[in-house]
Symmetry: C2
Subunit: 103 residues, 2 copies
Amino acid sequence: MIKVTILYPNGEGKTFDMDYYATKHIPMVKRLFGDDMKGATIDKGVAGGAPGAPVPYLAIGTLYFENIAAFQNGMKTYAQEIRADIPKFTNITPVVQISEVVE
Amino acid sequence: MIKVTILYPNGEGKTFDMDYYATKHIPMVKRLFGDDMKGATIDKGVAGGAPGAPVPYLAIGTLYFENIAAFQNGMKTYAQEIRADIPKFTNITPVVQISEVVE
């Protein structure tokens, strides 16, 4: 199993509409990938690790796939539609990471 | 439920011993927090989102707690012991994020 982690870094003037993300964007991604996507989680950034520290990421989305090919093949078809939706909920350019699930 | 996400950014000369992290460090954190910690996951960074892109984080650890207080109260007691263990597996200063689980 692999995870695709999409991180939205915090910063001055950065905005993120969590309601749109959770009720429109992630459901769209699920619909596009269909059975190739095994699940998704959404995290809302609250704070940094130390008390009072700023939150590093306003949101973190995680998508689960059987393997990297399942994600990358889907992106060949759906990337344009997915990327076109991003300005509807944020002005942040996300950082995208592919990871193996160790545990 | 909240997540504490610990991200180890990639970079020139950065190293990360996943074996030590998975078999020594995370088990130590679990032992220290005991029942206050509800679970942990470990991701090994493999690639960036686009084919050929460098991996943003060499590893991402996630710790689950009932609420922020459970994490921060524990850290008051255990932070020193946990931080002293970090140089044994990496030369990276991790980024720590507290998130609410939206979905």
